[in-house]
């Protein structure tokens, strides 16, 4: 029987991607707890296995053995489908992400567009889950999440448009290919395209934090005023899948930032480029995301929208205009 090797390759990538997403979701929780602990000068999880490394496993078992309560009055279909709607786009985004020049499931020519299309489904999942919960806290949280995501999608996309103008392609592999050969070729230091590139990276990073609903922008899970926001009615693995989806989205965000600004799998000194450099940069960004969460207090909702509309959007537009002018002139 003849089996197309392309199908086997895709299947292998599918399994690999799901395993990578699940492993990351589990161990980022461990990393988060450890990092939070050390910033507060504690140890963090240490009882289960060496350095508490089996903690995510035990947490997972705990969540899975819990009863999945579907409260009376919820929309049964939306309530059950919402966690999956958060998780699936995150896994689908992994398909187009090139981890190295050969390690990519499907090298789409519109890879960048595909990732942003999938990323916005994440918000829809949260909205449906909150609406289906029939809970006032959840609905308030969902309204916040949507307005937050609308506000932060604009500066993010404007920054991405700037990068697409510089690179002339939406193919992620080609975008990385243009940045090869040392850190001075990376887009973050591409001063010949626009002197504001480090600022553009900062804007992208802040928007990534807001898009993934991370602290200090965690309006979705506003524990202090909205119980648990959109997740109020979720228990057991329903909540667990939401949680995993959130961490998978952080991995996606860090990967895209690595590809667009930090040269993907390129080595900073021009030696041995490969998947390890990609992972080092990605995990450094994830470390920073967690570091930020345990440094800053939460913003108010108005402060958050003001930051986007009054600061990030004007600056990203200035960067866009500057870049197009410089591309025209030089």
């Amino acid at each position: 029987m003849y089996v197309d090797p392309e199908i086997i390759r895709l299947l292998a990538f599918l399994i690999g991607v799901i395993a990578f997403a699940a492993l990351n979701a589990a161990y980022l929780v461990w990393l988060e707890r450890k990092e939070a602990a050390h910033i507060q000068r504690r140890i963090g999880p240490k009882e289960v296995g060496p350095f508490g490394l089996f903690q995510p496993l035990v947490d997972g078992i705990k969540l899975m053995t819990k009863q999945l309560i579907v409260p009376a009055g919820v929309d049964p279909v939306l309530f059950k489908i919402a966690p999956i709607l958060v998780m699936v786009p995150a896994i689908m985004s992994f398909v187009t992400i090139p981890f190295s020049d050969t390690l990519v499931a499907r090298n789409l020519d519109i890879g960048l567009l595909a990732i942003f299309a999938f990323a916005s489904v994440n918000v829809l999942g949260l909205l449906l889950g909150a609406w289906g919960s029939r809970n006032k806290y959840a609905v308030i949280s969902a309204a916040r999440v949507v307005s937050q995501n609308v506000a932060y999608e604009i500066p993010m996309l404007v920054t991405v448009v700037t990068l697409v103008m510089i690179s002339g392609t939406m193919n992620l592999s080609k975008i990385v290919g243009l940045q090869m050969g040392g850190f001075w070729h990376w887009n973050i230091f591409n001063f010949s395209a626009s002197p504001l590139m480090p600022v553009a990276f900062l804007i992208f990073f802040v928007c990534m934090l807001a898009e993934t609903n991370r602290a200090p922008f965690d309006m979705a899970e506003a524990e202090s005023e909205l119980v648990a926001g959109a997740f109020t009615e979720y228990s057991g693995m329903g909540f667990g899948v939401f949680f995993m989806g959130e961490y998978a989205n952080i991995v996606i965000g860090a990967s895209v930032a690595t590809i667009l600004f930090l040269g993907g799998w390129d080595c900073p000194f021009g030696l041995f480029p490969g998947v390890h450099w990609f992972l080092i940069k990605m995990y450094f960004l994830i470390f920073t995301v967690i570091w930020i969460r345990w440094t800053y207090p939460r913003t108010t909702f108005y402060g958050l929208l003001n930051l986007s509309w009054k600061i990030l959007i004007p600056i990203s537009f200035v960067n866009l205009i500057l870049t197009s002018a410089m591309l025209k002139v030089f």
Partner: protein, 146 residues
């Protein structure tokens, strides 16, 4: 316009300062004590439940069964009993019970004890599942310590 930009730059800088502080803490050594595995030494003035003091020469409790502690106790949680024995001067302690469910750790018993035969223990691991576990037989505790 200048103020707008200045505010953005100083605000961004303050965020980086904050990150710098937390990362310094991240690399500093841990300050917490891992409680069940390691404990801090108790301070000398810690007032736990009371305990009998041993006479170093005879090995018996120092208690002379005067009953002052029993009288001083405002919540009546101490029971002291003794008997006369042949060839022994004074009374010999036969029973010293502390009902810790009623004790408020006021320390009046320790204050009233003339021969300094009772003292505060440093024991604070006192969790239990039965009420009866808190009626301490202090004489037995002293013997178990020997």
């Amino acid at each position: 316009m200048i103020d707008y930009l200045r505010e953005i730059i100083s605000g961004t800088w303050s965020l980086f300062v904050g990150l710098g502080i937390t990362i310094r803490y991240f690399f500093q050594p841990v300050v917490t004590v891992q409680y069940p595995h390691e404990t801090l030494p108790m301070t000398p003035r810690f007032r736990g439940h009371i305990e009998l003091v041993k006479d170093e020469e005879t090995g018996e409790p120092k208690c002379i069964v005067c009953g002052m502690c029993q009288k001083a106790c405002p919540s009546n949680c101490i029971t002291v009993n003794g008997e006369k024995r042949e060839g022994v001067k004074g009374k010999v302690l036969t029973e010293y019970t502390l009902d810790f469910t009623k004790c408020s750790l006021c320390g009046l018993c320790v204050e009233s004890c003339t021969p300094k035969a009772i003292t505060f223990s440093k024991d604070y691991n006192l969790a239990g599942v039965r009420k009866e576990a808190y009626i301490f037989d202090l004489k037995k505790r002293l013997e178990a310590k020997n």
